[in-house]
Subunit: 368 residues, 2 copies
Amino acid sequence: MGATVLTPSPEEDMERRRTRPRIADVAREAGVSKTAVSFAFNSPERLSAETAIRIREVAGALGYRPNPVARMLTQRQTMTLGVLTPQALAVIFSNPFFALFSEGVAHAAEDLGYELHFISPLHGSLALAVGRSTVDGVVAIGLSADHPEVGQIRGAGLPMVLVDSDDLPGHSSVVVDDEAGARAAAEHLVELGHRDLLVIAIEGPATPSGEPGRTGVTERRLRGYRAVLEGAGIELSAERVVAGRSSIDGGSSAFQRAWAMGIRPTAVLAMSDAIAIGAMRAARELGLRIPDDLSVVGFDDIDLAGHVDPPLTTVHQPIRQKGADAVRLLLAEVEQREANRPEHIRLETRLIVRASTGPAPQLRQEVP
Amino acid sequence: MGATVLTPSPEEDMERRRTRPRIADVAREAGVSKTAVSFAFNSPERLSAETAIRIREVAGALGYRPNPVARMLTQRQTMTLGVLTPQALAVIFSNPFFALFSEGVAHAAEDLGYELHFISPLHGSLALAVGRSTVDGVVAIGLSADHPEVGQIRGAGLPMVLVDSDDLPGHSSVVVDDEAGARAAAEHLVELGHRDLLVIAIEGPATPSGEPGRTGVTERRLRGYRAVLEGAGIELSAERVVAGRSSIDGGSSAFQRAWAMGIRPTAVLAMSDAIAIGAMRAARELGLRIPDDLSVVGFDDIDLAGHVDPPLTTVHQPIRQKGADAVRLLLAEVEQREANRPEHIRLETRLIVRASTGPAPQLRQEVP
DNA sequence: TACTGTCACTAAACCGGTTCACTAAACCGG
DNA sequence: CCGGTTTAGTGAACCGGTTTAGTGACAGTA
């Protein structure tokens, strides 16, 4: 390549510095049409080999990179999938459940050549974030089907798969059998002789109206717990169902709150492992031994569950697979523009008994 | 709004179903120009109130949503920041260090109204992913400054901030004082009388040439360890520096490998908490008591570190802040197009002594 | 009445690519 | 040497918005 071609006049040099080169600049410099430059990158077989190489050389020397936004516009696809969550990203990333889910999503998306874009409330508005997001489809996790943004996406005709949510006509979905998992957890405790239970639910993001959100997941698990307890003649009064953020701290403070209210359970049914671990920590600090004085059952079976002390008895759910399946379903819809039947996947859960649960203590401690 | 306006002819109805409405459709339906529709959304004050409202009503009825890709193209900004990592997303999300970092990044980005886009190798190629990504700037973490993709981004003129990497002229950066942190960890062990040490380093992603990557972080920490050990007259032979993935399993298998090679340390210097926790688990399974038989020091001080058994002695680094600072620096560059001085931030580290370290055992166990 | 200013709105250019429809030249068998 | 096919490349339209420069109607002023 001749230096004459690539040495810019001072004027051109100025120009280059202020705006990045466009396809037209490359075309002019190489003495070909814009079309030829486009071909050199996208379908070189339509050009003679030498022309294609020369164009790419010129482009390289100019520091040209095809503007991906412009390409998206003409292709009318972004090769990006959205992950929609009702909570702030900062919250999301501290949630091990979400990390596992993302892992599954990321794995599947990567395999299929898609990028990932996390959509979470912007300036408190999920609607704004959805409006701005440039994605070919959306995996919505933890949003109830009647969430307003779900409607927004449906209205916009964007492909969407719902995870951990109720079914919505026209959309695929992935859920786990929360109710069965919850039943297994409760049965385990009942068999160990526990009759004084505390349920710590996951507190959803506050709804616009200010009331703490109740997601479908929470409801289903609670239904499972209740079914077993009622069957065993155990009453679960309202004050024995508390809620906390799904984090270690959230579980810890929820247990403390219940304790401060005078509740003295022999066992805790936590709706997430993070909460369970937090509850164990709080209980320890109150002088309780686990599982001698207090049994704790979690939910999720995150990697950590087996590594805490004592190892946590919990309900396993295939979180990674949930993410991967959601992406698979979403892409089925994204890639074939034809209307295809929405598919609904329900994955199984199972109880993993470790060391955080044991027989109910014969006599309860009356005073902390 | 008259029903006549909104009831589409069958033909129009077909058309609407196949492609989402464009700005021109709204304009036609409302009997105004495209410009007016654009104004109705972006600068309603340039329209009479009633016209603006009518246009928005029509748009709503049509299910119109401005195409964000087209908007990006004309605005020449995407309001999105990229987080560049050399590892696959699926790997990233299982890494608690990264989760914390992302938390910091996400928090700052959200505050400033930016979305986040994670850029990781696509089909094994980071370059491909970078080329596709539509971002206004990039936070690169864990890439060495001589990484080829870093050059690619520089060439494209995209603003970039480097985290945990060597300084690069023209770019801001954020690092922590790894060397000082490593020194503190080593000093602690030396003071406790340990002389038989094992270092478990973080194994970077394999380089294209196949050799295991050595990031700057690893080098700096190793330098810190060495400085102290040499000062105390302790030799750190090559076989006493092993590497593993930065995960619990990675730490576990690295320790097992070293053990199988006949190495019998009284203390472990792990370059991440995840590795430290894994090493503790492996040691336990080999019958060692911690800290009686083996002391372990981690690095990072992730939330979990205080909750494992025994609570982990580790070097604290402000991971969240690292992410937040990186975004701050990046936006300074993105938002003012003027060339502004790159800034370099170095954050402090400090040793947190918990219960995983203790005095060196008087006699070493000879046989497992 | 002519002049200026404001208001409400529009036509056309533009962002930076891709692609459709077409052409000139080279090739090829008969 | 002719008609048909390939090859290599081009110009213009297009993707779906935003923005610049203007236009006509109307009100206010001198």
